[in-house]
Symmetry: C2
Subunit: 337 residues, 2 copies
């Protein structure tokens, strides 16, 4: 049982292939009566356009690519990517665009995937995530000439269209809130130092702490895993100038940090306040529930997808500054004892 083609429809309707094509695409050139007849036949025999044939005529591939450059074991750690993907998806599927996904080992492999996808006509564009400092991918995709939206700050996006959130503002809100509660020794357990958003948050953290005249505001870098989050927390809490509040760069490290504090017989929030970057169900089920920096991640993904589709349509896509993360206070923050 071969797939029906427009030739089959043409034969049944007693018209030419051209007429069928016009009818199916809502183009002028056929009478309403003929159009209706053709549509009825197409529907009856279950015709679907063959995208390969369409793509051959220079039409779009109707797919966009996303290559994730993270080891498999880190991918499951944060809900971030699944939420991001579901947001991207929502926007794409509304326009019948598909999402091509590939998990790669390093940036070189990632560029190889983009080049292949683009060269083979598989995708119309791509979304770049996890921007690094001086990211080699930026000039490389610029050279490839593929429409690309970057999730990250404009300063690192080169000529590509950036979609970002004001992490500086979020850091400021958090630190000012903790200071208002009475904290003077605040620490930050950050993610990978080579990621551009880590650098931005680090810098903002230092600036805000200095601006408020705080004493020592240490930053410890990790790989986002619970183990490293726990180790960093243990180190901070063992130091002579023990911080009274710690801001973690993700949820899993915050939970790990919480466990470490409790192990060390420190009460959260009396002895230690804990803030996590990015809310997740996890933050709400632990005791005490965590004060978090909330972002609407699916919306973030949707905005990126929307910008990318505009770019593909040839519309001049403008950079988009998304909403800054908002501080949602729960039981893990309080004035220091």
């Amino acid at each position: 049982m071969r797939r029906p083609t427009i030739a089959d429809i043409a034969r049944q309707a007693g018209v030419s292939k051209g007429a069928v094509s016009y009818a199916l695409n809502g183009q002028p050139g056929v009478s309403e009566a003929t159009r209706a007849r053709i549509l009825a036949i197409a529907d009856e025999i279950g015709w679907r356009p063959n995208i390969a044939a369409r793509a051959l005529n220079g039409a779009r591939a109707h797919a966009v690519g996303l290559a994730l450059c993270r080891p498999a074991r880190f991918l499951g750690v944060e809900p971030f990517f699944m939420e991001l993907i579901s947001g991207i998806e929502a926007e794409l599927s509304a326009r019948s665009y598909a999402l091509l996904l590939q998990v790669v080992g390093d940036h070189e492999a990632e560029m190889g995937v983009y080049r292949r996808w683009w060269g083979e006509g598989r995708v119309d564009g791509a979304i770049l995530v996890d921007l690094h400092l001086d990211d080699p991918r930026v000039p490389q995709v610029e050279e490839v000439g593929m429409p690309v939206v970057v999730l990250g700050h404009p300063s690192a996006a080169g000529s590509l269209v950036p979609v970002w959130a004001d992490d500086r503002a979020a850091v400021r809100e958090t630190v000012e809130y903790l200071v208002a509660l009475g904290h003077r020794r605040i620490a930050r357990v950050a993610g990978l130092p080579r990621l551009s958003h880590t650098a931005i948050r680090d810098r903002a953290f230092g600036d805000v702490c200095a601006g408020l005249g705080l004493d020592a505001c240490p930053i410890v870098h990790t790989d986002y895993t619970g183990e490293e989050g726990a180790r960093a927390t243990r180190r901070l809490l063992s130091s002579p100038e023990r911080p009274t509040a710690i801001v973690f760069d993700n949820d899993i490290m915050a939970v790990a940090g919480l466990s470490v504090a409790q192990e060390m017989r420190l009460d959260v929030p009396a002895d230690l306040s804990v803030v996590a970057w990015d809310d997740s169900p996890l933050c709400q089920v632990v005791r005490p529930p965590l004060t978090v920096l909330t972002r609407d991640i699916p919306a973030y993904g949707a905005h990126a997808a929307q910008r990318l589709l505009a770019l593909i349509d040839g519309v001049e896509a403008t950079p988009l500054e998304d909403e800054a993360p908002r501080l949602t206070t729960r039981g893990s923050t309080a004035p220091p004892a």
Copy 2:
């Protein structure tokens, strides 16, 4: 700057399109000298085969589809899908297959996506997940005639190729272990009752408990969220015949249950033992770390992808029983006080 085609190569090499095609595909019909010259030119101008043109000649689409039918808010909850996808990916990318992903709202939409993908020649096959009892998708994809591998028990897979794990054995191992520790009142906080694997685990749980002559072994169904896990735990722990051990169907509910127990001033594991289905970093960062049923989820996905590729290649793909989940004991299980 147009994408180079074989016509460009032919012109530069001074041969016909046909000769170029033979050379690039390793077919006989060109001299080694000419082949080398053609390959050099192709490489130099950065030629890539246009998949659309290839697909038009009846070749494969070199992509497989995965439609996830879960609300966006549940997708991020469990690391399961990201791990599964990375496993599928590993197998696919080794064969240069792409993964088409779409998040859908319900089974009807999911079938629509499969029909469209298949009808448009976008994919060569698909993987079906989250099998329901009497799943309507099974007969429907059978009718579509697309190669499909099902992640789930053969009893629910119809004529489709199943890849599954022996959940019954895992349930038995868990319950027998808890009984060996001295537990007599064991409860199960299960997931969605309409999922086929939930039914299988429920049944196994009931059978094993009955076989060991245990008293009351209640099962509470939830939607996998932390909130419902917490509520279920609260209900179980408030009952007169309070269980001394609870087996949760995922990690987030187990953590929520742990918090509830601690809120109710019950010591884990002295007053309550907790077991989670599926390990994740989360299970290791909470205090006490959770005893879990571990599966190699990436491997599970890889096996499914491998079976699907075989099916696409026209090889008779056989059902695959993957390794049963193994019990990994940590601090959350102990003899009842």
